[in-house]
């Protein structure tokens, strides 16, 4: 199989959002025990920070979806 064949399917990436990317890098992959902490004064800064961002993006998307719902007239 040629390298070009390997890459053929990769050009058409669909709908990869920041949310997808954060979700993947934070939740997929191997963990080395005790290493997943970048902390300062006992607070897991990066992990905590990214989870807050992730939650915020999710909440924002939910609000956007709600706003896009058609309004009903009574």
């Amino acid at each position: 199989m040629a390298d070009n064949d390997l890459l053929a399917g990769m050009a058409e990436r669909e709908e990869v959002s920041l949310l997808d990317i954060l979700d993947h890098v934070l939740n997929s992959g191997v963990v080395i025990h005790g290493s997943l902490v970048i902390s300062l004064a006992g607070v897991d800064l990066i992990y905590l920070g990214l989870n807050v961002v992730l939650t915020s993006v999710e909440t924002a998307l939910q609000h956007m979806r709600l706003e896009q719902l058609p309004t009903t007239r009574r």
Binding site: L6, A8, E14, I21, V25, I32, S35, L36, V37, R65
Partner: protein, 216 residues
Amino acid sequence: MALLAYCMMEAATMVEKPAAGVGGRKIDELADSGLRCFFSRFENREQLSGTPAVESAVAFHQVLQALFQQAVIVPFRFPTVVDGEEELRQHVEAHASRYAEALSRLRHMVQMEIHIGQKEEGTANLPASGHEYLQGRQALAAELKTAAKQFRQTTGPWVAEWRERQTKQGMRCYALLSREAVAGFQNAARTLRQSLPGARVSGPWPPAEFLEIKAS
């Protein structure tokens, strides 16, 4: 010295490394037990903590994608940081056989994902009782399963393995397929997605859901 680990691949695989990784750092690698492990060096953990978290995560993702476009990888979860090359080497040596088996089994494979979202409930439709609430939950779960089944059937000819997981946001489906099957899968999923507006298809991703490697 703190090392941020990106991923592993088979040592014999020839790949071109990205010019820079998280925080603009050079990407180094170590080879051990038939595996190549990619990482960036930082003075200490605080130096990495100092870089903006989202930018770091996106840069991490870009490194993984650049390597994954060339060969299958076993990614590390972000941010996996170890205290020096020796610690990383010890981990690779200790688990080399499992990683090698996974890389060999998934050599030409990728992972596609389908997220089937739940419908947003308006306040006018709040359940009147606990019984009604549970009935609603059951109906929703059945709806998600039906949608997942439709996707599975439609994309079936391209899929080697399929997994599903129900989450708070809906249903997640993971399809393992060969790299050559991606375009076919995408076309099939696209036709079905038009009738299921709550569904999103993404990928190809490294086949992390099919690694069968537990945290260690």
